[in-house]
């Protein structure tokens, strides 16, 4: 009998009034929004910058989680799809007058100067098309073999990007467009009703909006027929086929869906960073996202977000909180903070793989489960017989199902 079964079957708790549940949820959301609003208002540029990069990483991690976490298709190709999105954005939205300095000569760049309302969705669509082209390989290959194919994408991509000088700027890279509505350009500080809003604040709102939309979208899709099909494919392809899941459609769907989000993430990332060299879209970037979903939690929306925080933000938070650095700084424990971060980063991955394959989100759920048990024991021992508003049966089912999906999700890495 599994732990989750114990809780569900042994729980004599009556369903709490629906409103109560709604109120607690509403309170949590209100608190979250309030904290974000406060952060938006008081955070300095460095924290906003860090938050923006982390949210961008979370969007990309969500994309990888759709493909690898929910559908079980091992992929190291996310950096490639992000790059496709970024270069679509620059092709459509880039400066038509751009020129690059290659081999001692000036080379005119490509760029149509279109609105971001065109280039942002287009970046997702073109990346999705690239996903549809690559997707069929997943029908014949599984596990590591598929991983190797996606790895090849990175190398092929690097070669193409470095050599398509007019589009990418060549090895030296190029500038990317900022979202703009007429004179209101996100790369600058703007006045909104006489109030100065910085570029980082503007990007914060835009990236947050897209992250929320992506998270809700992924979360909802995973509860639909298509999402269940993805998860059935991950758990056991043969069983999925037997129960009527169309493997071709499910795998292609996952590739297209994941690539779409990756494309948008890549375009936004390039736009926010403002300047990128093709080398950036390399293997290391892809591996960081794999690390993010392992550490955060596979097959989980919150896992993607937490993974981005742990892998992308935590090292920089250590850095920002460490004492002022100079060339003579002793660092922490005699190690430079940057080097210590690298060690912590590696340790985190090893520790999570060994002890909590469900990732941070798995850990949180474990804690939830423990507190539920503890509550239940207390209630049994004490005089409580009625339901406590703190305990929600739905939450227990969430615990059960997500614990299951998290543990299943990691199996793809064991293949």
């Amino acid at each position: 009998m599994s732990a989750s079964e114990t809780v569900v079957s042994a729980s004599p708790i009556a369903a709490p009034p629906r409103l109560l549940r709604a109120a607690s949820r509403r309170f949590a959301w209100a608190l979250g929004i309030l904290l974000l609003a406060l952060f938006f208002l008081i955070a300095s540029d460095q924290w906003l910058s860090l938050a923006n990069f982390t949210m961008l990483a979370a969007i990309a991690a969500l994309s990888l989680n759709v493909l690898s976490g929910y559908t079980g298709q091992v992929s190291l190709g996310i950096a490639f799809f992000m790059a496709i999105g970024a270069y679509t954005a620059v092709l459509l939205g880039g400066d038509p007058k751009a020129s690059f300095f290659i081999s001692g000569k000036s080379v005119p760049g490509l760029g149509l100067g279109l609105s971001f309302l065109i280039w942002l969705p287009a970046s997702g669509i073109v990346a999705a098309i690239a996903g549809a082209v690559i997707g069929p390989t997943a029908l014949r290959l599984k596990g590591f073999y598929l991983g190797i194919v996606s790895l090849a994408l990175i190398f092929i991509g690097q070669h193409i990007f470095v050599n398509t000088v007019r589009l990418t700027g060549g090895p030296g890279g190029r500038s990317f467009p900022s979202p703009a509505f007429g004179e209101f350009n996100f790369s600058r500080q703007n006045d909104i009703l006489g109030v100065a809003v910085t570029s980082n604040q503007e990007f914060f709102l835009l990236i947050l909006l897209i992250l929320v939309l992506a998270a809700i979208f992924v979360g909802n899709v995973m509860r639909t027929r298509a999402g269940r099909a993805f998860q059935a494919v991950r758990d056991n392809e043969t069983s999925a086929a037997i129960i009527g899941v169309n493997l071709f459609k499910a795998k292609m769907g996952a590739f297209i869906f994941s690539s779409f989000i990756a494309g948008v993430a890549g375009a936004l990332f390039a736009s926010y960073t403002s300047y990128i060299q093709p080398n950036y879209w390399g293997l290391l970037l892809s591996i960081q996202y794999v690390a993010a979903i392992i550490v955060g939690g596979v097959a989980s929306v919150w896992g993607s977000i937490l993974g981005a925080v742990f892998v992308f933000a935590l090292p920089q938070i250590f850095d920002l909180l460490s004492p002022p650095q100079t060339t003579g700084s002793p660092g922490l424990f005699g190690i430079a903070v940057g080097d210590l971060n690298a060690v912590v980063y590696g340790l985190l991955i090893i520790v999570f793989l060994l002890f909590e394959p469900g990732g941070v989100i798995g850990l949180i759920r474990r804690i939830q489960l423990l507190s539920l048990r503890l509550n239940h024991r207390l209630r049994k021992g004490g005089e409580l017989t009625k339901a406590s508003p703190d305990l929600e049966p739905d939450a227990q089912f969430e615990v059960e199902s997500s614990t299951l999906s998290a543990s299943k999700g990691t199996e793809m890495f064991d293949e």
Partner: protein, 424 residues
């Protein structure tokens, strides 16, 4: 209905508060101290100028980042001890950019963009590229600790030294015109990024300009574990001179791979490929025997140059443990240029970012006391005008020359014909 109304009223109150808060956060205008206009990065009250440093203080690139930054620290310590710049003390805000991590560089730039008057050092080509658009929009000058040719096109970057591309051209000018080896077989091994491409561009221009026999070009990735394939290719092609565009952490791998197969071409290294500290390692030292490095500036310890004498005096005072190191010298010289710009701005009574930018535009020629040749920044707006120098010195690596940073000059300071003609 009631719920809806109360939500609406709460939302209105929230938005009103939000607007008030943002209004409160809006930045104030500039100030003035002793007749000198100031704004971002200068504290008129304490008379402090804050300058930013974005450099690797960790990972393998710190072997360049730390000595280079120390050079800047030592120079400004001396300036501060002598009254500062028109009474303003210089304070350095240093951040680890984890080169070549462009994301870290951007976050660190954002961390200090509202605290500093200018960036005195941004180390690395990809990292400097990553912040150049932000620097433009902030009207922030950036001292670039990189010799990438492409940066000459950027209006807010201050370059020091001869670009990588011209280093390669000068190296082969030395081979053909000074050594007298006409049309030799030559090869190129370069890091597969923008830095390497700059070297490669110079190599191709040199092949054309000097009629060299190009027998091979091999790329490698920064931090590659095994580079024997590239070295074997050079041996098979019979390259007599192999130019190497790499960083110090990779350079010994090539020399070791060549030694292992008994291949001994004349290695010529780009300036960042070599690091004096490598010679301190008894196992590595023999690998460097007879190699050349293209460099610039006064030889360490050559006190006939007043700039070198001043630098050595400062080292005695502020960093007595500093070993001879070309990167320290580069940083110290870079700081001299930043100082010249700040001094000009302060003398004109304008230490705002706009004032400092204007001072840079009109700075003209800066005498670096022989540490580096006189450096000229033109005001025509042409990238050719922003290339500060085109000369180099060819050095031989010499394990016995510890006092000069393990190098002995083979040539005088010269500008080759190809480097003179190169357009940016």
């Amino acid at each position: 209905m009631r719920l809806k109304k109360s939500f609406q009223s709460r939302a209105v109150v929230f938005l009103a508060l939000l607007s008030l808060f943002i209004a409160g956060c809006a930045s104030s205008g500039g100030t003035s101290s002793g007749g000198i206009k100031t704004d971002v990065g200068v504290d008129a009250g304490t008379k402090t100028i804050n300058l930013g440093i974005l450099t690797p203080l960790s990972n393998s690139a710190k072997v360049i980042g730390i000595p280079l930054t120390r050079g800047i620290e030592v120079f400004f310590k001396d300036i501060n001890d002598h009254g500062g710049i028109d009474g303003f003390k210089v304070n350095l805000i240093e951040k680890d950019n984890n080169y070549p991590d462009t994301q870290q560089q951007t976050v660190q730039y954002d961390a200090i963009r509202n605290q500093v008057l200018l960036i005195a050092e941004s180390l690395g080509t990809p990292t400097t590229f990553a912040i150049k658009d932000r620097a433009d929009s902030d009207n922030m000058l950036v001292g670039a600790a990189t010799l990438s040719s492409a940066l000459a096109r950027e209006t807010h970057l201050i370059l020091l030294g001869t670009p990588y591309r011209l280093q390669v051209e000068n190296a082969f000018d030395y081979v053909v015109n000074k050594v007298g080896d006409k049309a030799p077989k030559v090869g190129m091994i370069y890091q597969n990024d923008e830095y390497g491409q700059d070297g490669l561009t110079g190599y191709n221009e040199a092949v054309k300009a000097y009629g060299l026999q190009d027998v091979g070009q091999q790329a490698f990735t920064f931090g590659a574990a095994d580079v024997s394939a590239q070295v074997l290719a050079m041996q098979a092609a019979g390259a007599k001179y192999v130019f190497l565009t790499s960083t110090p952490s990779d350079t010994p791998k090539f020399l070791a791979a060549a030694a292992k197969i008994g291949y001994a071409p004349q290695w010529i290294m780009q300036s960042p490929s070599f690091l004096a500290a490598l010679l301190a390692n008894a196992q590595l030292a023999p690998l460097f025997k007879g190699t050349w490095v293209v460099g610039q500036g006064a030889t360490w310890g050559d006190t006939s140059q007043p700039g070198m004498k001043a630098m050595l005096d400062d080292i005695t005072k502020y960093a007595s443990d500093q070993q001879p190191d070309g990167f320290f010298e580069f940083g110290y010289t870079e700081a001299k240029i930043i100082y010249a710009i700040l001094k000009k701005a302060a003398d004109s009574g304008d230490l705002t970012r706009a004032g400092v930018y204007k001072a840079f535009q009109g700075i003209g020629t800066i005498d670096l006391g022989g540490l580096y040749p006189k450096t000229t920044y033109g005001s025509s707006g042409s990238p050719n005008d922003r290339v500060p120098t085109r000369d180099n010195v060819i050095y031989s690596v010499d394990a016995s020359a510890a006092s000069t940073g393990f190098v002995t000059p083979l040539s005088d300071d010269f500008v080759g014909t190809a480097a003179q003609a190169s357009q940016f």
